[in-house]
Amino acid sequence: MNALTFLNLDTPIHRLNPLTKLFMLACLWTASFSSRNLGVMAIIVVYCMILWALARIPLAGMKILLGVVLFVGTLMVVIQGFFYIAGDTVVFTVFGKPFKAEGAVFGFTMMVKLLSIASTVPILTMTTAISPLMAALAALRMPYKLVFVFGTAMRLTPLVQEVYEDIHDAQRLRGHNIKEMGIIKKITEGYFPIFVPLLLCLLRKTSDMDVAIESRAFGAPVKRTYLDDVSLKGRDYAAMLITFVFAAGLLATSVYMGWGAGLIGWGGPLAD
């Protein structure tokens, strides 16, 4: 399970219309992008965590996503610590290169911003099945073929992973030990016996899929209908209103307090 895997549960968040969830994400992203204040972004993360709890999203499912955020964030802290132009609070030096507190705080702020954005993703992906999401995107007047490509890509992701693992195992059974190879050998020799069959298997599967899709009248020149009802209900309006008020409040606070773009850290003191 990962943050893109749909969890088939019946929770208040699962019951929301995908359009509502898209709207909520848009609100939270706007609030996050409009501020560089750690507090604002921490509040967004907490808000998302409340939604996770309502959606019964297990933390285990977030492991990969949080790992990526932590890895990228740590890189940001290190890079910004050494290369941040403004500020003069030197914490330590490495080979004569100063590591500045302002840079580290800026990197850390970026990490929390990334976290606040990433935290919103599972609220859509882990609580929405592909077909209602596709219906919602079509309702937003996205071309259906584009929507279908998106849906198929979502479906293919775990399939590719599964085939990759099977091929990896098949080659290990022939003594192919990619783990023990150095990086150069891995690139020149290691991946070839895995990626060639992977590519050929996927080509065959997609060719079969093409026949199956055509056989189910895909592309018929009629106005497509949808099984999923994408009309908004009372709960959708309530969820949108709450999130909108929440995001608008954060946005207004950021603007009022002067915590907008260009500022770092907690907003005031370090920004100057």
Binding site: R155, L173, R174, D208, E214, S215, R216, A217, F218, Y226
Partner: protein, 583 residues
């Protein structure tokens, strides 16, 4: 629609079709009328043109795949060349071999809805159609499940439902059960039987499973090298035993028994189902003065596992739970295998067979218990190192082939073992010879037939000269000839002293090739003993949805005439009957 079109919904006239970039036609001069309400089974060896004919029936050929077509195909009065697939799809529903490749959405209900959505069916009517289709295929209780959570048989039934929502009059199914275990295949055949009998849908189906074909088909068409070589009722077709043998189509065991006894039975048209043959033979035995004995159960008690002094493979109370699940895939499994044995492993899907053999090579490590191979505790061993002692041939050869020639492909494993060049060359020669691939050593692997690609995957393992060779479902997608060729390779290697384990759903192969049989069910070993003794335990086998080979069932059903129940081969039963009946 004309009256003729209603009676003959699908008509193929003198069609020859060649795929793009191919020289030889896949089907030649094919003439076929499918009658309304008919259950038509198309049989033939791999490469005979069965899939091509199916794709022609719903218009995918030629309008999607292109190629050159001569002749004429008509679906409900519509010319297949001039009408798009979506038009024909409303008359002809299609189900493919690989269940994974035809399910694209996140739950059963939306999968069933896909075709109706494409056709712009109003939502209320769509819901009605979906409910009906899911009920027909008995998946109404699974509507909110993800397709990935379904078993193989359920996935194929879902693919049938996904086609049924278009309310087609004809269902075309291309080897829908080739990747399923006996229970999954039984579910699919049973649903198709109901659709044909109760709903009146015309069924066109390709399969290698002659026992299923004979039970349900009104008519069988046999293809070979792209041409129809026989057609008629199952009895008419399979009575041509010599022709079927020549083109490698499996004749049902009961038909072959009657064919062997044709003079004594005075027949030239033979039965194709067990009950009819049983009646014929009972009549013959009665006529020859064999009286029925007191109904007594002569079957031996369930066998006990052999006691081995020097086991090469040993599993000691092994349990295994896949990460992210809480159900045991193996539950307290203990068994031992000695060097030089040929052991069959059977059981329904999910019984734990593949999980078991993956422990023997170290792909999986036990959650509890211990696996020891040649004195090595598998917890401390890597797969890459174990590959020199244990070879596992996986189901799908295409998941490992990557080299530019057959010889290079076979050499890959030996090179990984760090062997000197001369020895690698020697082993490659030997492996190609053992698998009959010597003439293809410079051929690009993907230019080989599917059967030869399977042999290549075996050769790639054989070249590493492992002490133990494990075949995991070697018969999947294989015709009668291909199945036997692979089992013959296993037999030859076993005669050369190798230990062979064969996981399969093919009871005829198990009966013919293995001396010892392990039956898995619900993650446990249900039985372990000599093959002939295991196959007499019909009730225990039924727990894991397995029936003994048809010839054993026939022998067991004639038990009251004193026919022993431990018969595994047609020839053995013939010899017994010959001595009993005096033919």
């Amino acid at each position: 629609m004309t009256e003729k079109a209603a009676q003959i919904p699908v008509s193929v006239k003198n069609v020859t079709y060649t795929y793009p970039e191919q020289d030889a036609p896949a089907i030649r001069d094919v003439e076929l009328d499918v009658k309304e309400g008919e259950y038509l089974v198309i049989m033939g060896p791999n490469g005979a043109g069965k899939t091509t004919l199916c794709l022609l029936l719903n218009g995918v050929i030629p309008s999607v795949l292109g190629g050159k077509m001569r002749g004429w195909a008509e679906v409900y009065g519509l010319d297949a060349r001039r009408h798009h697939v979506y038009e024909l799809a409303q008359y002809v529903g299609m189900v493919l071999q690989d269940p994974e490749a035809q399910l694209f959405t996140s739950n059963v209900r939306s999968e069933a809805a896909f075709a109706a959505e494409n056709l712009g069916v109003p939502r209320e009517e769509m819901i009605e159609r979906i409910d009906w289709a899911l009920e027909v295929v008995r998946l109404q209780d699974f509507a909110d499940r993800a397709p990935t959570q379904l078993s193989g048989g359920q996935k194929q039934r879902l693919a049938i439902a996904a086609a049924l929502v278009m309310r087609p009059s004809v269902m075309v199914l291309d080897e829908p059960t080739s990747q399923l275990d006996p229970i999954g295949a039984g579910e699919v055949f049973s649903v198709l039987h109901d659709l044909n009998q109760d709903v009146g849908i015309t069924v066109v189906l390709t399969t290698h499973k002659s026992e299923h074909a004979t039970r349900y088909a009104d008519r069988i068409v046999v293809l070979d090298q792209g041409q129809i070589v026989a057609q008629g009722s199952p009895s008419e077709v399979f009575s041509e035993v010599e022709l079927m043998d020549r083109i490698h189509v499996q004749v049902p065991a009961v038909t072959r028994v009657e064919w062997d006894l044709k003079e004594a039975l005075g027949k030239d048209r033979f039965s194709v189902v067990l009950e009819d043959t049983q009646a014929s033979l009972s009549g013959l035995l009665d006529k020859r003065g064999h009286t029925k004995q007191q109904a007594a159960d002569h079957r031996p008690p369930p066998p006990t596992p052999p006691e081995l002094d020097t086991p090469y493979i040993e599993l000691k109370d092994v349990s295994f739970v896949y990460p992210g699940t809480d159900k045991k895939a193996l539950d307290g499994v203990s068994l031992a295998v000695e060097k030089g044995e040929f052991v069959g492993i059977i059981g329904q899907n999910g019984a734990g067979k593949t999980t078991l053999v993956k422990h023997v090579i170290g792909l999986l490590k036990p959650t509890e218990g211990q696996v020891v191979v040649d004195g090595r505790d598998m917890v401390d061993e890597t797969v890459e190192r174990m590959a020199q002692w244990v070879g596992l041939v996986l189901q799908n050869p295409d998941e490992q082939l990557f080299a530019m020639s057959v010889a290079e492909e076979v050499a890959f494993g030996c090179t990984n073992l760090g062997l000197p060049e001369e020895e690698v060359a020697e082993r490659v020669d030997h492996a190609l010879e053992a698998t009959g691939l010597e003439p293809f050593r410079d051929v690009y692997p993907f230019n080989l037939s599917f059967g030869d690609r399977r042999k290549l995957s075996v050769a790639a393992v054989v070249a590493m000269e492992p002490e133990v060779l494990i075949f995991d479902e070697p018969t999947t997608g294989q015709d009668h000839k291909g199945r036997r060729e692979l089992a013959d390779i296993g037999k030859r290697l076993n005669e050369m002293g190798r230990t062979v384990l064969m996981v399969t759903h093919d009871m005829d192969l198990i009966a013919e090739y293995t001396k010892r049989l392990i039956v898995m069910g619900e993650a446990r070993v249900l039985m372990d003993g000599p093959t002939e003794e295991v196959f007499q335990q019909v009730e225990i086998l039924a727990q894991t949805y397995i029936s003994p080979p048809q010839v054993t069932q026939l022998a067991l059903s004639l038990g009251e005439y004193g026919i022993p129940g431990n018969i595994l081969l047609v020839d053995d039963l013939y010899q017994v009957l010959k001595s009993e009946v005096g033919v």
